[in-house]
Amino acid sequence: MATVLDLVQGQKGTIREFSQHVLPIKLLELGCLPGNILELVQIAPLKDPIYINLNGNHIAIRRSLACLIELDIAVETQAP
């Protein structure tokens, strides 16, 4: 199952329907809901935290949280 950690920089994915209640309510409130788009903006120099654009919200989260967010990764976003 693909998660945020499988994205490369600049790549986008669509958040899947999954057991969202494993995520903290704060993240849901920032738009981490099924169907929304998530873009990986940047990974911190020491690999952690991870900077994402979640439904227009620019936030940084840790790997431990990012690996819980399941995505459908759109292949065409990698095209030039």
């Binding site: 969202q20 209640h21 903290p24 309510i25 704060k26 993240l27 849901l28 409130e29 920032l30 738009g31 809901l33 903006v41 940047q42 911190a44 120099p45 020491l46 690999k47 952690d48 935290p49 900077y51 439904n55 227009g56 919200n57 620019h58 936030i59 940084a60 989260i61 840790r62 949280l65």
Partner: protein
């Protein structure tokens, strides 16, 4: 008395809420990009059209009413407690045009609490640049609220806001969401059991980890246990609420709000690529830190020298022109010297807060958190502790207050406990004077002088002590804490010079009026204790010293001083073009003056030694002698427990008591000799003192703030004991090794 209504400003962080508060009330307040910079509850008054008045409350920036942080708990508890005197009659929810969707989430929650609400959409000046279009009329209808389009940067829309505020509680208070849709069974039962109560209010009381006044908890919990069997189930309901809210918001925004994603992307991504780059990111951060230290140490020395000279002149002028007596002494040696000791540090404080507020205003501070998070984690901290720790380099008091944004209590407590190790501005005066005394002025490495490098070393030492203590506390403290790290990366903004100016002014003012009051009061008390005594030795000082000098000659201290001064006089004469013969003629005259002067100083020294303060200083001397200190430093240590910077003021008072010229204090310290005739401030003593000040908890104000923020005396007392013991051991080791 005009009619007054309570208005609360509520909004997400980084929406310009504090800017709007400032403009409405005219009260100065810090505005920053770092999430949650508005930590304190801020109040102010604002005149409204029609002779009414609003009492404005600027609430901390929060994302939602879920109480995971202290800020959120504070806001949610206030909004639920209708009996609280600050409970708003009217809420102004402040949103930002670029992040409207997310900002509206909080708005819908406020609306559901049944509080009359106005929606303010800020940063309207960015709309065309970001390709945003808005249909205000349609949006007002759909949301059932009055909307103000504003720009706090340009001061637009505020008159309209005031007009709307004047309408008071007439604003629509209808809820946004039909709360029963979350769980018809549960909410139906709630309505039946608690008739007349607002169901959303009950739901928050049941689902949030906070104490809400006036709710019958027993009844509520009994009901909850019937419908919600587990924590997981509760979360599912919260999840459902979130989904429903966003559905509602999306429906509302459809056709009323559009944003051109291409234009909206903007410069943030490209700037972030550089500022959070694995090499350049850290290099830039380190360069900024170095620049700050260079500014504090080098640039501020010019105004400081000027201030130093002016106060020395003023003190001398008073002594020359006022009738001799106790009052003149008090004025020249207690008050003027004490004020001088405060004013001199204004340049450094201003420079430091200038940089800190620029970093916060621009949005860069969040990038620092992003870069540093991984580095902080081994110490049991997160990147969120970086900002308090860096702010601690200015003053531990606002820094400890800034820890309120750390959701995790354990992390927050650790940050509070270790922040006083960081090099606050009150340590600077102590460090600067000691560095100037014992570290050579000449010599440099890579263009940075030994003195600047020593200061940098002390900063690193403070940071190191904070981090290592954090690690120890992380192991020792048995507190559970689930960390959810979430950090907003706000868009970069050109800092508003007005806001930066306010910050610098506020901080300087609070130092001068806050810490300054203590410094001045202690300076005066010290002057009194230092110039009065009750023993026979004190009363007959003149007689005793004259007799001693008649029998044994001058002390080593005085002899060196006299020689130095004679050399200085000769050099002066030569540069003025006097001939060798003229100088020889002047010698007896000079010698007589110097002898008189030395006699007066020895008497003053004797008097001080037997004054009230000398007695106290000598009482602790056995305790501090192993650290390389004498009774004078002992006195300064005692007084420093009120505030560190008092050390310098104390020495200034001690050395100027009874003396006749106003030499700068540095020279006095350099000329001081111990009983063996060696300089008192050697490298060993200087380093020992610097280490003592680096580690010791010598600030009553910090202890008071820790007490307030932890709501217990246990933590500040532990902190005090731990830091003092550590300071003693470090100073002892340094002195014994170096001497």
């Amino acid at each position: 008395m005009s009619e007054s209504i309570n208005v609360a400003l509520i909004g997400n962080p980084n929406t310009g809420k504090s800017s709007i508060f400032n403009q409405l009330t005219g009260l100065n307040q810090k505005v920053g990009n770092y999430p949650g910079i508005t930590v304190e509850k801020k109040e102010g008054y604002c005149k409204l059209p029609g002779g009414k008045r609003a009492k404005l409350l600027d609430l901390p920036g929060i994302y939602s009413l879920s109480t995971t942080s202290m800020d959120e708990r504070l806001v949610t508890e206030l909004l639920l407690d209708k009996k609280n005197k600050n409970h708003p009659d009217l809420a102004v929810v402040i949103t930002e045009v670029e992040n409207l969707k997310r900002n509206l989430y909080l708005f819908t929650q406020i609306k559901d609490l049944g509080i009359p609400t106005i929606l303010l959409i800020n940063m309207a000046d960015r709309m065309s640049r970001k390709g945003i279009s808005l249909d205000i009329g349609a949006l007002e209808k759909k949301l059932g609220t009055k909307i103000v389009l504003a720009s706090s940067r340009k001061g637009q829309g505020l008159e309209r806001l005031k007009e709307l505020m004047a309408e008071g509680t007439a604003h629509c208070a209808a809820p946004f969401l039909d709360i029963h849709r979350i769980s018809p069974d549960y909410f139906g039962a709630l309505k039946k059991e608690f008739p007349g109560e607002d169901p959303y209010r009950l739901w928050l009381a049941a689902s949030q980890d906070a104490t809400f006044q006036g709710v019958d908890y027993q009844k509520l919990e009994a009901l909850e246990s019937r419908f919600i069997k587990s924590g997981e189930e509760l979360k599912k309901l919260q999840h459902r609420e979130t989904v429903l809210r966003y559905q509602g918001i999306n429906d509302t925004l459809k056709g009323t709000y559009s944003i051109d994603l291409e234009k909206a992307h903007g410069a943030r991504a490209s700037i972030d690529k550089i500022l959070t780059h694995k090499v350049f990111g850290y290099l830039i951060f380190f360069a900024i830190l170095l620049l700050i230290f260079q500014a504090i140490f080098e640039w501020s020395s010019y105004p400081m020298d000027f201030i130093d000279g002016q106060f020395a002149q003023a003190s001398a002028w008073i002594k020359d022109n006022f009738p001799a007596g106790v009052f003149t002494d008090l004025l020249a040696e207690g008050i003027v010297a004490g004020i001088g000791g405060i004013v001199i540090f204004i340049p450094q404080i201003a420079f430091l807060f200038l940089f800190i507020s620029l970093l916060e205003e621009s949005g860069y501070m969040s990038r620092v958190v992003f870069l540093m998070d991984r580095l902080m984690r081994p110490f049991g901290l997160s990147g969120k502790s970086v900002v308090p720790l860096i702010s601690g380099n200015a003053c531990a008091i606002p820094a400890i207050m800034a820890t309120r944004t750390i959701e995790n209590w354990k992390e927050r407590l650790i940050t509070i406990l270790v922040t006083p190790f960081t090099t606050c501005s009150a340590r600077l005066p102590v460090y600067l004077i000691l560095i100037a005394l014992v570290i050579p002025e000449e010599g440099s490495i890579l263009g940075f002088s030994y003195q600047a490098l020593t200061l940098l070393g002390l900063y690193l030492l403070g940071t190191g002590a904070a981090l290592i203590s954090a690690k120890i506390l992380d192991k020792l403290l048995k507190l559970k804490g689930r960390t959810v790290f979430m950090l907003e990366m706000p868009a970069y903004r050109m800092p508003l010079l007005k806001n930066v100016g306010y910050t610098v002014w506020d901080k300087t003012k609070s130092f001068v009026l806050g810490a300054g009051k203590i410094i001045l009061a202690i300076s005066i008390v010290l002057w009194f204790l230092g110039s009065h005594g009750s023993s026979d030795d004190f009363d007959r000082a003149e007689e005793i010293v004259t007799q001693r000098i008649g029998e044994q000659g001058f002390g080593a201290n005085s002899k060196i001083l006299m020689e130095q001064r004679l050399e200085a006089l000769k050099e002066d004469a030569q540069t003025q073009g006097l001939s060798q013969g003229q100088i020889m003629d002047s010698l007896p005259h000079w010698n007589a003056a110097l002898t008189d002067n030395a006699m007066a100083q020895e008497i003053a020294g004797h008097k001080l030694e037997y004054s009230y303060i000398g007695q106290a200083g000598r009482a602790i001397e056995p305790l501090v002698r192993p650290l390389g200190y004498d009774w004078k430093i002992g006195i300064a240590l005692i007084t420093s427990f009120a505030a560190r910077e008092v050390f310098v003021g104390t020495l200034a008072t001690i050395y100027s008591v009874g003396s006749e010229d106003e030499e700068p204090i540095k020279q006095r310290m350099a000329n001081d000799r111990n009983q063996a005739g060696e300089p008192l401030f050697t490298l060993a003593t200087g380093v020992s003192l610097m280490l003592f000040y680096a580690f010791a908890m010598q600030c009553m104000s910090t202890l008071a703030i820790v007490q307030r923020e932890t709501n217990s005396w246990k933590w500040p007392l532990l902190q005090f004991v731990f830091m003092t013991i550590l300071a003693y051991i470090a100073a002892f080791a340094a002195y014994q090794i170096l001497s």
